[in-house]
C-alpha cells in the first residue's frame, strides 16, 4: 500500500505535465497544419483587456480559461534591463505612474498598480515577461510584439523557460533582411511574415518572397482596403501549406471588416474574413469571435 502511494506521488506530476504538453501539442499542431483542419485559431490582442487590465496576468489567465489559442503581449525594457509588459510609450494611461518604462527599475515599477479600461486602479501589477512565461507554459501561444529592439533579452528569458516553441514573432521584413538580422536569434520560435498590402504589384512580389524563402507555417495579410487583388491569393497561400492570419482589430488592418463591425454585423466582419481565407484571427473581441466560430463549426 505504501509503495502504491509513493508511486502515485511520483507519477501524478508527470500526468499534470502531460496534460500541459497535450494542450501545447494541440496548439502547435493546429498552427502548423496549414489550415487543413478547418479549425480557426484566435489570438487575443493584449489578452482579455475588457475584463482585466490589458497586458496583465489576469487578462492572460482569462484567455487560458476560455480556451483561446494565443495572446499578444507588448514588451519593453526597464532601466535595469528587465523585460516587462507595456504597450504605450509611457506608463501614464495604464498604470498609477507616469513616464517611460525605461525611467524606472523593476522594483520601482512593481510599486505601481495597473488601471482598468475606465482608468480605475486595480490590485494588478505590471508583469515581467518571466512571470508571463511561468503562467502560460504549456497553455497558450504567445505573440510577442515590440520585440525588435530588445530581441536578445526576450529570447534569453524564453530560453531559460524552454519556451521558444511557444512564442510567435511577426514582422514585415523581406527574407533577405530577416535572414541577416533575425533568423539566428529567433531560432526555435515561430516566425510569421506580415504583408502590409499596398494594392499594387509590390504585394505580389513580397508574397512570393514570403512563400518561397521563409521557414514558416503562417502568412499574415494586412490591408487598409478590402479590394486589394493580393487578398484573392489567400486560396493559393493555403494550397501551398500555410495558414492565413488576418487582424480583426482596427479597420486599417482589414478594410473595415473589424471587431467594431462585429458589434452589429457578424457576417460582414468575421464572416467576411473567413470567406476571404482567414484561419487565424487576431482580435479585440476574442470571446465574441470564439462564440461565432463555435456556432459556425469552425472550432
Amino acid at each position: 500500500m505504501r509503495n502504491l502511494i509513493l508511486l502515485l506521488f511520483i507519477t501524478i506530476p508527470f500526468f499534470a505535465g502531460a496534460q500541459n504538453n497535450a494542450r501545447l501539442d494541440f496548439l502547435l499542431s493546429k498552427l502548423n497544419d496549414g489550415g487543413k483542419s478547418n479549425y480557426v485559431m484566435i489570438f487575443a490582442h493584449r489578452g482579455d483587456w475588457r475584463n482585466a487590465p490589458e497586458n496583465s496576468l489576469q487578462a492572460f489567465q482569462n484567455c487560458i480559461d476560455a480556451g483561446i489559442d494565443g495572446i499578444e503581449i507588448d514588451v519593453q525594457l526597464t532601466k535595469d534591463s528587465v523585460v516587462v509588459l507595456m504597450h504605450d510609450d509611457t506608463i501614464d494611461r495604464t498604470t498609477t505612474g507616469i513616464g517611460k518604462v525605461s525611467d524606472y527599475t523593476l522594483s520601482e515599477l512593481k510599486k505601481l498598480r495597473l488601471k482598468n479600461p475606465i482608468g480605475v486602479v486595480t490590485r494588478h501589477e505590471i508583469p515581467t515577461f518571466d512571470e508571463v512565461l511561468e503562467l502560460t507554459k504549456g497553455k497558450i501561444l504567445i505573440q510577442v510584439d515590440k520585440w525588435q529592439t530588445i530581441k536578445e533579452s526576450v529570447v534569453k528569458t524564453a530560453l531559460k523557460h524552454g519556451m521558444m516553441n511557444q512564442l510567435i514573432f511577426r514582422g514585415t521584413t523581406g527574407s533577405k533582411h530577416f535572414n541577416e538580422n533575425y533568423a539566428t536569434v529567433l531560432k526555435g520560435a515561430n516566425y510569421i511574415p506580415v504583408l502590409v498590402c499596398k494594392g499594387n504589384n509590390s504585394d505580389d512580389e513580397k508574397l512570393n518572397d514570403f512563400m518561397k524563402n521563409f521557414k514558416t507555417s503562417v502568412i499574415s495579410l494586412s490591408f487598409k482596403k478590402d479590394d486589394y487583388q493580393v487578398i484573392n491569393r489567400a486560396v493559393e497561400i493555403k494550397k501551398k501549406g500555410f495558414r492565413v492570419w488576418y487582424n480583426s482589430m482596427w479597420a486599417e488592418f482589414n478594410g473595415g471588416h473589424d471587431d467594431e463591425m462585429a458589434e452589429y454585423d457578424l457576417e460582414g466582419s468575421y464572416g467576411w474574413l473567413l470567406k476571404k481565407g482567414a484561419n487565424i484571427i487576431f482580435s479585440d473581441r476574442p470571446f465574441l469571435l470564439l462564440n461565432y466560430l463555435k456556432v459556425n463549426g469552425r472550432r
Binding site: W49, R50, Q58, P117, I118, V120, T122, M249, E263, D284
Partner: protein, 317 residues
Amino acid sequence: MKLKSILKLRIVLLIIFGLFVSSSALQAQNQKKNISSVSIERLISALHNPRKNHILISSHRGDWRNAPENSLQSLKNVVAMGIDICELDLKKTKDGHLVILHDNTIDRTMTGKGKPSDFTLEELKDMWLKDGAGHKTQHKIPTFDEFTEVSKGKILLCVDKGFDYFDEALDNLKKKNMESQAIINIPGITLDSLKKLGFRNYSDNVMLNVIVSPNQKDLSKVIESYRGRKRTIIHPTFASESDLVFEWLPVIRSYGLGLWLNALWPDHNAGHNDDRAIEKNETNETWGWLVQKGATVIQTDRPKNLLEYLRKKKLHP
C-alpha cells in the same frame, strides 16, 4: 349546463390558455435574449417601493467593457442585458448642450484634448470616442437628449455629476415624460439646504440619490433630514467598517429610505467589490455581503455577472 354557457366557458378557458401560452413563450424568449421581462412600470415601482426579490442593478457608465463608456452603445448593451439602471455622467459644452462624459477633460475617452466646455457640440461630434484599450472607435459623444431618447420606456437612468445641471436635466426628462424614470445624484446636504437652493424643478416626487461621505461631520443631520421623504435613496461609501457611515446602513433602511451600495472598488465597500467577486470567485462574500447589508440598489462594473448572481439567488426577476 346550457349549451350556450358551455360554449362561453370553453371560449373563456381557451382565451386564458392562449394568454398563458403566449406569456410563457414570451418569458422563454425573453430569458433567451436575457431581456428583463419586467416592464418599465414595474421597474419604477421597484424603485419607489424596494422589494427583497428585486434588488436593482445600476451599471456604472453602461457596458464600458464592450463599448466606449458613457456611449449610446454602452447604454443599448445594458438595456439588452436586462439591467435596471444605467448610470451616466453629465457635462456641458461651450454652446450649452448637456453631453455624457465622465472626466473633467476629454483626453482619456475621446480623440481630442481639453475641457468639454472648450468645444461646441458640433466640434465634439467631429471627434470619436475611444475604447478601453485607448483606440479610436466609430462612436461619438452622446447628448443627454439622445441618451434619454434611447432609454425612454426601457431602463432607469441615474444622472451623476449633474447637480450643476439639476434643472436642465429635469427639463429634458419632463419634456419626455420621463421624470419617474430617473434618479438624480445629489451631494450629502440636508433636504432643507437642497430646498433652499431653489431649484425650479425640485419636487417631492423627484427620485434623489444622496451621496454621503464615509465620515462627514453632519452625517446624522443629513440622513435624518430625509427621513419621511418618500423618493429618496441614501448612497454611502466606506473604505472600512470603522467609517462612521457604516453603522448607519441598517438605520437608513429602517427609515424606509433606499440604500445604494457601490460594488465598484474596495474603498467604496470595505473591500467587498466587483473584481474580488469575479477574480477570486467570491460572489457571496462580496455581492452577497452587500445584499446582507440591506442594499436596495447595487452599482456595479460587472452588470452581466451581477444579474446572473442575483437571479440565481432569486433577488432579481
